[in-house]
Symmetry: C2
Subunit: 310 residues, 2 copies
């Protein structure tokens, strides 16, 4: 049995009772362990981190979709993070080498079940995508819930499963399989959203910036500043400290300082350790010098990225 | 079965064939896995890192003592690191919570066996010490091999097991139980040994410096500079980045820069991660935000220090 991580993102980060109810729903299935719940009021979004086997995760996520669709009405939702659904996106991540095919299969199975049970349009993305144009989540999500009805009338945006129109309150959902990524937000000591957006453009891959980095500039509430919100989709190609340094450098060009940073959900040790080695100037450091990664039975997990994502 | 780490330190770091023979001896016992061999020519010392269960580790270490006593003659040994024995010191470290009593029992058992089989004086130290004055390894080792004969004539330095005089070529050995420590050496861009010694005095606990830090100043060969060689015996009380910063600051007072640093043997992730969080300015970071530390069955190991060492 292969250990899989699921990281569903739900469009509710303000109403504590709703987040608690969703956590109870997704965390109540034996064999699927809810490790973490991370809510952001400005994003108005919560990220749950679960691990377990495929069958248990599928059951737990069906509970989550049921609980979220019953409680979240996207017509009344506001937040700075792009989203198309009450359960906006559910990625599955293999925690053991060679687990990707199982994650693709699980994404497909869950997608079919969610569409059938809740009459919800489902887009399969990244490794689970059936066509190349569905790989990138940001394209699926472009336009947001507000423009989803119009977008879905176009044949190229017919969903992989479910009806060809948004669910009235729940929108649509993206379900996929991908490798470990780090959601890493850097807060700037500034209220100027334009600066955050310029920095995001300077560092993200799609505009010629760093390798394997997605970034947007957003306004956040706690603290009340602007933020460069990043996904590092391959932290071996661009480690956290390089992304942090790039944001710091770009911010300095605008006369703005970095306030602090945050990781959303849980972060793999392998993504943080190079930053430590660099700060401590450890000569010839690599992960094989870390005891935890060398203990019998733990050499390969959680699996660091090994090949470029396309 | 509780997983235990053993980190024997042997007084040979130059003759490659001898180090290889010792690694083969200690690494050839089923149930004890040799994870790492780290040799330093200036220290003329090698550190082996093994994990396994108590019975397998005892067998593996008896093989190591036999191989080392057959090949190392301390009368012909030179090196910058303090030492009293061919196998200078063997600590056992519990990798799972509540494993310390098993490590104390294992140290005692191995000590009895080593004394009986090789006619070698054995000092039990730290958690395995039978009297408070035997807790501190540096007191047992003070004076080195060269003064061991004289020292052992004093009743208070009668060994815990074995004869009351040094083994002619193998000296004596210290066997103990302790928590995880980090051997962390900071190289200075200087050849002035006096500066390294002053910095060591400024940062070590015994001279009023940082908490839970042992330090000496030594000359090293690769690179050819001086070094502050530290043991961080409780990296929760003084994390690596604080020790590094203190050395950097003291060095700057002497107009000297830090060149780089090195960890000896393997380092627990929990000792490095706070340095990463600090470098990346991650707000409210703690180990519970690290995926690896939250996976089922891994929550508590390797066990971080939880109580002050005395």
């Amino acid at each position: 049995m292969s250990l899989i991580e699921a990281v569903p993102n739900v469009s509710e980060g303000r109403r504590r009772d709703v987040v608690d109810a969703l956590a109870a729903a997704v965390g109540g299935v034996p064999g699927a362990t809810l490790l973490d719940t991370c809510s952001d009021p400005a994003h108005n979004r919560s990220v749950f981190t679960l691990v377990g086997d495929a069958a248990a995760l599928k059951s737990a996520l069906l509970e989550l979709y049921a609980a979220a669709l019953a409680r979240i009405d996207l017509r009344a939702h506001s937040g700075v993070h792009p989203r198309i659904g009450a359960v906006d996106v559910t990625p599955f991540v293999p925690l053991e080498a060679a687990g990707m095919p199982a994650c693709v299969a699980l994404a497909t199975e869950l997608g079919e079940a969610v569409a059938r049970r809740f009459d919800l349009p489902v887009y399969l993305y990244e490794r689970a995508a059936r066509t190349p144009d569905r790989r990138r989540l940001e394209l699926i999500r472009r336009g947001g819930f507000e423009n989803l009805g119009t977008k879905m009338r176009r044949p190229e945006w017919r969903p992989d499963f479910g009806p060809a129109a948004p669910h009235p309150t729940g929108g649509a959902t993206a379900i996929g399989a991908r490798r470990l990524l780090v959601a890493f937000n850097v807060n700037l000591d500034s209220g100027d959203l334009d600066v955050a957006r310029r920095i995001a453009r300077a560092v993200r891959t799609s505009d010629g910036g760093l390798d394997a980095v997605k970034a947007i500039g957003v306004r956040t509430e706690s603290p009340e500043v602007v933020q460069v919100s990043m996904n590092l989709v391959d932290f071996e190609r661009t480690p956290l400290h390089e992304a942090f340094e790039a944001v710091r450098r770009e911010a300095a060009r605008h006369g703005v300082e970095v306030l602090n940073s945050e990781v959303v959900g849980l972060v793999p040790a392998a993504a943080l350790l190079p930053a430590a080695a660099r700060a401590l100037r450890i000569d010839g450091f690599n992960l094989r010098r870390v005891l935890d990664h060398r203990l019998p039975g733990r050499e390969t997990s959680p699996a660091p990225p090994v090949a470029p994502e396309t």
